[in-house]
């Protein structure tokens, strides 16, 4: 597992209170991990903080799985 994936997973575990073992890279935050729409906003804010980048709204809306987040952050984080 890449470093970025590890860090993203940690944030998801902390924010959504789900067991790490239940998170697959294609698990959807809302449909599979019990997040509500505000949780996804909070996740994006936590990603921004952890990776020191700003995720614009149009990109944030497309981050619906762990994999989406890792792909975006791999390409855009500092």
């Amino acid at each position: 597992m890449s470093d970025i994936e590890e860090r993203v997973k940690k944030i998801v575990v902390e924010h959504l209170g789900v067991e790490e073992a239940k998170i697959q890279s294609d698990s959807k935050f809302i449909d599979d991990l019990g997040a509500d729409s505000l949780d996804t906003v909070e996740l994006v804010m936590a990603f921004e903080e952890e990776f020191g980048c700003e995720i614009p709204d149009d990109a944030a809306e497309k981050i619906v799985t762990l994999k989406d987040a890792v792909t975006y952050l791999s390409a855009n984080s500092n």
């Binding site: 509500d36 505000l38 906003v41 909070e42 804010m45």
Partner: protein, 236 residues
């Protein structure tokens, strides 16, 4: 009552705005921030308020992060203006500027503050509306429209944010002795007094105390509501 909490209230140099700042300051609020269109309006006794000069008409183009790099617990959207005229004589400029300052500016301030409140799972948001939003008032089509719109905004935001311990309410003052009502002539004032069961105008402290209540622990379970503070003028 408000120990370790920060307040941001727009329009802190107006009658109601300055009373709100004063009330929170007297009740132990930590930092009090406010906005004004002109720093020259700040009075000497308001030195405890951290004022920022902002034209709310232009808030879309302002970087709020640079202006308010602070943690906000209480947001009071109080700034407002009126440009009265009978509807058929109302210019589109006067319509737009009232909607822009009284309603649209709230959108931008809220975006900024709500994000911080969601993060820390606490926030108290209070809009200052007006009784005329609920009764209508000839000559104030723009003003009443802007204030009535707040009612829907309060309810939707309350529903969206209640799971994060953020309450969103509004206060609808009746006729309050303020720089806005000072502009009325005696005949107009007497006509108004005749309609108020308490036979007096409210004062800005009456509103400040209501704002204080909605931000206090006594109102923890109240959200999406409008508190009418009008001496019985309109029972809604």
């Amino acid at each position: 009552m408000f120990k370790d909490k920060n307040l941001l209230v727009t329009g802190g140099t107006g009658s109601i705005g300055s009373s709100i700042c004063n009330y929170f300051n007297n009740n132990g609020c930590k930092d009090i921030y406010s906005t004004t269109t002109n720093l020259n309006k700040v009075r000497d006794d308001q030195a405890y308020i951290k004022f920022k000069e902002i034209n709310l008409n232009n808030i879309e183009n302002i970087n709020l992060d640079e202006l308010f790099d602070i943690d906000i617990d209480f947001l009071v959207l109080n700034a407002g203006l009126n440009k009265d005229n009978i509807f058929l004589r109302m210019s589109s400029e006067d319509w737009n500027s009232v909607i822009n300052v009284n309603l649209n500016s709230s959108f931008h301030l809220l975006k900024y503050c709500v994000k911080k409140m969601v993060k820390k799972k606490f926030g108290r948001i209070v809009f200052i509306s007006s009784v005329v939003a609920y009764t209508g008032n000839p000559g104030q089509a723009n003003y009443t429209a802007s204030k009535a719109a707040i009612s829907g905004l309060v309810k939707s935001l309350a529903l969206e944010l209640s799971s994060r311990n953020i309450t969103v309410n509004s206060i609808a003052p009746g006729f309050i002795s303020s720089n806005m009502t000072d502009k009325l002539n005696d005949d107009q004032k007497n006509a108004i007094l005749g309609r108020i069961p308490m036979k007096k105008l409210g004062n800005s402290d009456d509103i400040a105390k209501a704002v204080g209540f909605l931000c206090s622990e006594n109102a923890n379970y109240i959200t999406g509501q409008t508190l009418h503070v009008n001496g019985g003028l309109a029972l809604i």
